[in-house]
Symmetry: C2
Subunit: 539 residues, 2 copies
């Protein structure tokens, strides 16, 4: 029996669903409704076209209306906005964007993949600000690029230090623009924890980007050429990008009385159906479950949208599918750095008052004797009781996303931190070490789990110093010239066995080095000699 | 209670065991016996020092005898060869290599990590061949490098196209030497299947390397300057590297009446103990179980040696460890290509008469609109009944080992091919696509599992043609100019729905394209229209 299926939204989730639906059946009538001029475009490539890393605009259009219609025998209607769903009659009202003409279509099944739109608070002076842009679509991109090409702005201000903001920062710097990022929080890249984000700050500064933290926009003045911050400070801007986050496109769903979550996402079951079983919703517009905690989450990324698009098509064809939540695995290139994360971060675990332990390591991306390697800062979060992997963050120049992908896979395979040591990963000098960074994270975490070594964390140091605790720096004296913890005792690792008598056995001894490895060795030496030693996680 | 532990072999397995033993206890006496001048050297870096990719020879020495002795409080004896084990008396006879002096040491526990040595068959003229080398140790490396530096060989012959042979080929080409590889089999890189190895052939030829397959050495003549092949052909050589494989160093074990497997590996249990529970054996010298099939295997790689070194130390300290087999995950850089594999290949599965299915895909390493991407040839082997992942092979320029590492992790997590579609991997344009190549492999394999699409394989084509079967090429006419299967019918994908009547419904229709995707789309169109269509795996 032939069905009539209408899809609202023709990009990541919508186009994927359409293609899969057609591959599963030649029979059904499939209509795709897209309010913009283009379908199936490369949202994620937009910043790079502005930055002229991608030079051919056509490359942004993965499929055209004509090409995709033909290839998949679809009825694709761009410049068509879905306005209203009548669930009783099973009809969708559609408005032609250019003519304003309205008409109705009946449907058997409806798929909503309308995405999310940039958050734009009603700042004072917003309407008058001519140099203010948000970035979501190809037309947005064209406008920003034309502004850069024609007005040759000297100074750009980016409001919001999320991944779109940082990608725009990089691409504007490529275009010779001086960039300032204004961020309300105390760090960029919210999926990272603070200490990991600090590495990104350095990279941004290295490339001339100014960072303003803990401050936000109060008003735009002088047609947007001056921005008044909440602190009272004024900054000049020739081009402003507002990238403080996105909000789900939930209008259609709301008006149709479908359920909406507290953060505005459309609510769906594990089969991605709204409370109306004939209406599915997917992508940035929905609320998902955090894969680790199974708590509500909004994770506007392309993988979930694509995955959900396929699953919905399968479910419509009677296949038993279920979407079990989103891990939030992500990666971004920030100048020469790669920043990648998966699962929960420490901020979230702390807020949820979960039991967790964190380890930090800084292994080389590949054998240190082979040229081209560089250190990866890797943070691993786990449940110290069960060994369950809760999340990971990596920052570095090379091989970062590989390690995060491996850990994301381990999470899906329900492997424990102790199992990470047992992952047999590919090794040759240009690619890794015989103990891969992920193995190493597994070893370090296992040692914490087994209670073989106690650790303490960088944020405890101030407190320890205040209490007058003993901190032993096991680096070489020369290394201390570039900075050392005040009041720490220096006993280089190589001398430790001969200088044990300088330390007390009746109270804790806090050990640290540069990256955590020598500190660990020192801690084992001390522990086995009867001392109460703790190692600084990550050195 | 303090124990006396002797380790034979001071490199990958041995040095790792020693370091971990010390971290687990400050008490035990740990003696490391190494017959060569160096311990803890970077075996895997040796070819790159000859090729001057690594310029500082000291970088090859990861730890020195002095440094490691001090850091880990070890008794390290280099230039000391273990000659005989007396299991009754628990003594080891040791010979000082420089003086020939012999002495005995008692032990409580003995760890054998003597590695494997290059296979050197008794070829005629071998002794007289002055320009013939094998590569295992730093002294071997010094000799080869000196020969290249001093004799400036014009033409080198490499016997054996395994990964050491190919790495040497690349490094000698870097040094301006013209290289010929002679290989007894019909392909290089045995872990790959034939069609995947063919991609490597092209890369080798592109860099001027001559390949001679299905031929081996018969004799060396003229001090090695002429090599007589089994085919009767003569080739000239100014430098010959013999790299046809390695054999386990099992002398000590054999003489001590420990059990040896049919291929010469020392036999151990899952705790890596020989039949004498006080004697452990690890690394290249032992027979392991193939992780997938649990059949005996010899897999001389650094990861297993390192892993086993750690496990043995843990077991000696009473921890419940078990080594469950080796997947054989490996990677090699061959000029601009990366070649990586994990698990079983098709040759092995065929030889073992296992039920398996193979899929081939050629996805881009990252978003095709973002510069710097390149296709990855990815082959996935799985059990069509259970969906168990049996192995994977990847060849390409970028991002290859990442995908193999992810699949190796999925295997350890006991994920099925269908689960690969569900791996939430990191995506941004410089790194991947919203459907990662591993997801794509999962989709394609799932379609085969679900019977949604039938596939046939490239090696069946000749047979199909002979039988006069119908082969439909769905590429564009222009693409056929560079070659097409003779007798195939050309119906471009875009025209297929309108030209269905040109094909018969009463017999199979074999579809192919360039990479398999358009063929897949055509196959779904045909199938849903009542045709018996099959798609060529990998196009
Ligand atoms: C600049 C930028 C960079 C990004 N980079 C990355 C990245 O590197 N990695 C990553 O994982 N994700 C990235 N994303 C996010 C990713 O693009 C989205 O998560 C993904 O596109 C969501 O898919 P979707 O189908 O839910 O929505 P979209 O792809 O946004 O598609 C929704 C479509 O629906 C249309 N629509 C909405 N309402 C209606 C209506 N009522 N009627 C008709 N049409 C309607 C919209 O016009 C839109 O075209 C990026 C996004 C942007 C904007
Ligand atoms: C050129 C080359 C490149 C390689 N590249 C890679 C790669 O890219 N990736 C990878 O995974 N693997 C690679 N390998 C393999 C890897 O080096 C080995 O798998 C690993 O070193 C095995 O560790 P092992 O401890 O078993 O043996 P080894 O590391 O070889 O150590 C054994 C030591 O024992 C000593 N010994 C032997 N018998 C005695 C005795 N009776 N008394 C005293 N000492 C003894 C030997 O002198 C030797 O130093 C490469 C090997 C070579 C030679
Ligand atoms: C372009 C778009 C329509 C593609 O959707 P799609 O057809 O589902 O995806 P792909 O082109 O990657 O093809 C995947 C299909 O080809 C099959 N396939 C891929 N390679 C194959 C091969 N070598 N042999 C056989 N089949 C193959 C897969 O199995 C899958 O089919 P299935 O879902 O029926 O199993 C959609 O992804 C899109 O609009 N993307 C742009 C927007 C976007 O994603 N933005 C966010 C990121 S920038
Ligand atoms: C050099 C060699 C002796 C090192 O052995 P090792 O000490 O076990 O290995 P590493 O130096 O990588 O250190 C690993 C240890 O440091 C710990 N560690 C690493 N980073 C750490 C950190 N940041 N914080 C705390 N601990 C850390 C790990 O937990 C592990 O300790 P554990 O085994 O007790 O859990 C040995 O690997 C070797 O000889 N290698 C050269 C030969 C070789 O491998 N050849 C083949 C490849 S070329």
């Amino acid at each position: 029996m032939s069905k009539k299926i209408i899809i609202v939204g023709g990009v990541a989730g919508g186009a994927t669903a359409a293609a899969r639906l057609r591959r599963l059946s030649e029979e059904n009538e499939i209509i795709m409704i897209e309010k913009g001029p283009y379908i199936s475009f490369a949202n994620c490539g937009l910043p790079y076209y502005i930055g002229e890393m991608i030079t051919d605009r056509d490359r942004l259009l993965v499929q055209t209306v004509e090409g995709m219609s033909k290839k998949f025998n679809l009825d694709i209607r761009n410049l068509s906005e879905a306005i209203k769903i009548d669930r009783e009659k099973q009809t969708l009202s559609i408005r032609k964007v250019d003519t304003g003409e309205m008409y109705e279509e009946t449907y058997d099944t409806l798929i909503l993949s309308p995405g999310a739109k940039p958050l734009v608070p009603p700042f004072k002076g917003l309407q008058e600000a001519e140099n203010l842009f948000t970035l979501r679509t190809v037309p947005d991109t064209d406008k920003i690029k034309a502004w850069v090409d024609e007005k040759a702005p000297e100074h750009a201000v980016i409001i919001g230090g999320g991944f779109i903001g940082l990608e725009m920062a990089e691409n504007l710097v490529h275009r010779g623009v001086q960039v300032t990022i204004v961020e309300l929080g105390n760090q960029v890249m919210a999926p990272l924890d603070y200490e990991m984000a600090s590495i990104v700050n350095k990279e941004l500064k290295k490339h001339g980007v100014n960072l303003i933290f803990n401050d936000g926009v109060q008003a735009f003045e002088d047609q947007g050429n001056k921005i008044l911050l909440q602190s009272g400070r004024f900054i000049d801007s020739d081009l402003t990008i507002l990238s403080i986050g996105v909000q789900p496109e939930n209008d259609l769903a709301k008006k149709a009385n479908l359920e909406i979550g507290s953060r505005g996402g459309i609510l769906v079951n594990e089969q991605l159906q709204t409370k109306d079983e004939n209406i599915y919703a997917i992508g940035d517009a929905i609320e998902v479950k955090d894969y680790i905690q199974q708590t509500p989450a909004m994770i506007p990324l392309a993988w979930p949208a694509n995955r959900q698009g396929r699953l919905v098509a399968d479910h419509i064809h009677g296949q038993p599918v279920s979407y079990s939540g989103t891990l939030g695995t992500s990666v971004a290139k920030i100048f020469d750095l790669t920043v990648a994360t998966t699962g929960n971060n420490e901020k979230l675990l702390k807020a949820l008052q979960k039991d967790y332990e964190a380890i930090h390591i800084h292994p080389a991306s590949n054998a240190s004797y082979y040229p081209g390697g560089s250190p990866i800062s890797l943070k691993l979060l786990f449940d110290p009781n069960t060994g369950r992997i809760l999340g990971a963050q990596g920052v570095g120049i090379k091989g970062v996303e590989k390690r995060i992908d491996v850990i994301a896979t381990a999470i899906k395979g329900d492997l424990k931190v102790t199992d990470l040591a047992d992952l047999e990963l590919a090794y040759a000098p240009p690619y890794s070490s015989a103990k891969d960074p992920v193995n190493m994270a597994g070893y370090v975490a296992s040692n914490v789990m087994d209670g073989e070594v106690s650790v303490f964390h960088y944020h405890e140091i101030a407190d320890l110093l205040a209490k007058g605790e003993i901190i032993v720096d096991v680096r070489e004296p020369k290394e201390r010239e570039n900075g050392a913890i005040e009041g720490s005792i220096n006993i280089p690792l190589g001398e430790l066995r001969d200088r044990l008598n300088e330390l007390p056995k009746d109270r804790p001894v806090y050990v640290h080095c540069q990256v955590g490895l020598r500190g660990y060795l020192a801690t084992t030496i001390l522990t086995h000699n009867g001392y109460q030693a703790k190692n600084l996680s990550g050195g």
